[in-house]
Amino acid sequence: MTAASEQGFVVFDRVQKSYDGETLVVKDLNLSIGKGEFLTMLGPSGSGKTTCLMMLAGFETATHGDILLDGKPINNIPPHKRGIGMVFQNYALFPHMTVAENLAFPLEVRNISRSDRESKVKHALDMVQMGDFGGRRPAQLSGGQQQRIALARALVFEPELVLMDEPLGALDKQLREHMQFEITNLAHQLGITTVYVTHDQTEALTMSDRVAVFDDGRIQQLAAPDELYEQPQNSFVAQFIGENNTMMGTVKEIKGDACIVQLDGGELIDAVPVNVSKPGERTLISIRPERVEFNKERLHEDAHTLKAEVLEFIYMGDIFRTRLKVAGNENFVIKTRNAPDQRRLKPGEQIEIGWLPQDCRALDA
């Protein structure tokens, strides 16, 4: 293994960025992306995702810090020499060229011979199943087709790194899911490193090897999708990814990888201490709706339980969504699978709920 691949194929080293000299849009970004990895940058609007991508592509310069590509700093390399494929949010297909000309463009500027060009263009079009559309103008294609052409154009010159900035933002749900699948397939098939930007968390979770959650110009958590979902490192991630029930409390007692938290109403519950370290600290506890159990038989005998009142029952087909009032919180939601033996709760019913200690996480307040 070379030093570069150990270190990561793409490395952001303490990168900062400011547009106006007053506020930092990207604050101290450290990120290392392995070769062939599919990494997604996920975050709310304005969190600096596009900015990071633009710095990598060379359209913005980092105010401070280094960006390394394959071990070499690229701060002073102009964009056209970086050899990075890029898919833009609006696709940016050149409207005055046909699809084939669009695809041939990167090959032409690289002085690749005409015959090679043609075969590569054809190959790329076949790859995205658009073989018959070479003669059309972009305006004559549907959104999904344009998207594929944009993808093919970013891949046709065989870059090792491809950047995609919300490439599926403009597509409808069904097409989006289909394209998610195709993009990940292609990326893995060709072994290219992909940096993907989205603010759709499902997209991030389903497509990526790792997800970097951005907020406020910082990476809040960088982890594989399952880890991100199940073990959020802080309250932002917990609330941003998926649905979560949160309650405020104070740490009562910490025993290794378990702790007891006293909620503000006085009730005691079990939790995993994530970023709390000593008793008496304020904490935000978070629990996924699908991990809440109200069937007493399935709970630990000595598990702490809470009293709850059913406020609302919503039938959603594959799942039931029930809103409860728990410890003064009227927006406590639980989700249960629609199984034959599943109980359907009725509004007004009084129940007791609990969970496995490892599913409940005590995070920063």
Binding site: A57, G58, F59, P79, M86, A92, F94, H96, A154
Partner: protein, 570 residues
Amino acid sequence: MSDGSDATNADGARRVSDSSDDGPVLAADGRPLKQSLQRALRRQKLRALGLIAPLLIFILVTFIAPIADMLFRSVENQIVSDTLPQTVQTLADWDPDSGELPGQEVFRDFYFDLAVAAQRKKHTQLGTRLNYELTGVSSLFRRSGRRIDDIGEVYMDQFEDLNAAWGEEMTWARLMGSEDWLQEQEAWNADAAAADEADRDFDRPLPAFEFGADVRAELPRTAAVFDEFAHYMRTDNQESVMEDEPWEVAYAALYEDLMANPDAAAAFSGENATILSEAADAVPKFQAVDYKAAILETEEGWSDPQVWATIQTFSPDYTTGYFLNAVDLQMTPDGIQAQPRDQQIYVLLFKRTLFMSLMIMGSCVVLGYPIAYLLSNLPLRESNMLMILVLLPFWTSLLVRTSAWKVLLQQQGVINDLLVWLGLVADDSRLVMINNQFGTIVAMTHILLPFMILPLYSVMKTIPPSYVRAAKSLGATNWTAFWRVYFPQSVPGIGAGCILVFILSIGYYITPELVGGTTGTFISNRIAYHISSSLNWGLAAALGSILLAVVLLLYWVYDKIVGIDNVSLG
């Protein structure tokens, strides 16, 4: 259950097929659908028409109609046949190649036409018109017109010697007018006198003059002259023919009529018959006028057959003469020929106008493109500032701007002073930058630049920066990305700007007039000259028509090459 649903389905199917069998589909009110749709659409169309009607009428009345009229003037030539109606007819038989002057009858008809025209002051206009074709004709008409009455006086004196009644207005009025008219006119006279007496306002219009029965048939020349006379009295003097004796030419006409038709008196009665038969008996003994000699005496120039050939050539109502003149050709009795070398200016002017308009257009593109690019790529605040600078010329008077260029460019001007001061130019060889083509191009480029920048800007504004970024990410250098990706998308803006600037400059007038000198003027300056100074409106109209045709042609060529859909004004 399944039976029932089958039945309703069958029913429904039958109903649908019934209606299609029966003929047209009906609307809810029972009328055919097509008809009611058309009614509805017609109402919409009428409403739309009503909305645009005011503007349409305004444009038709104030713009289209005058332009159409102006264009019509480029071929219209009725002035010759209007002013010399009889001459034109008799002259048609004359062969200009014979080398001889036309015959006596042409001169006679010419005398009558010219005498009437001279009285109505139309002969100078005709002279001016024909002078475009043959220099000197204008003064011929003017001078002859002054002395033409001498000819008629010969007859007038003889008629008056014969019977003093011929010198009285009423004799003529009774001879020519109808009974009805005489009565009406006399009643009018009485009323007018009464009103005058009582110091009242009197504004009843004069009764229209009416010829007596047979007058036109028996005394055609006299009637023709008297008709003109009556018309002249009524419109120019607001008087009836009872107020003045007719022009001298009327006596000549009467002489000719009585010579041709000695029995004319038979058709008249009473006093009229008496006086006419007396005259008819006397005229053969009158001293006759040799019209040819008399006209040549008024002005020597009529002895040139070329003059008569020109009149003959331009006697049709419509002529291509103006258009020929507009392209430095002329219509001569011997066919179409080139103008004399020293009068060939229009083709040169057209070429110069096109060339300079292209130069102006080109320099506008070169200067405007970078500005428009900057405008559309700068942050909003800076681009607004720049936009104000671009628009500043718009808010300054055209004259001020043009005069400013005069100050800057003249030989003792700011730029020359600066160059001399810098030592780049010797004091005695200051650059000539104004009153020539250079001055016109500089000033007009400055004036028309906003018309290039604005369409360019509005097109560039719509080109997302992501295209250039995409091109660069695909490996294109800055130049390639610009040339292959950005530039083609800005072409519609260039097209729009070029059309605007070119069409504006091809018809520009004020600036070339002020800073163009002699070598930097446009065809439009010549058109203006003909409209306001030389009053050769026909030629001006022909030049304007050609200009319009050139613009339309270029527009068409542009549409073929670039496609007019590719023009975007934002």
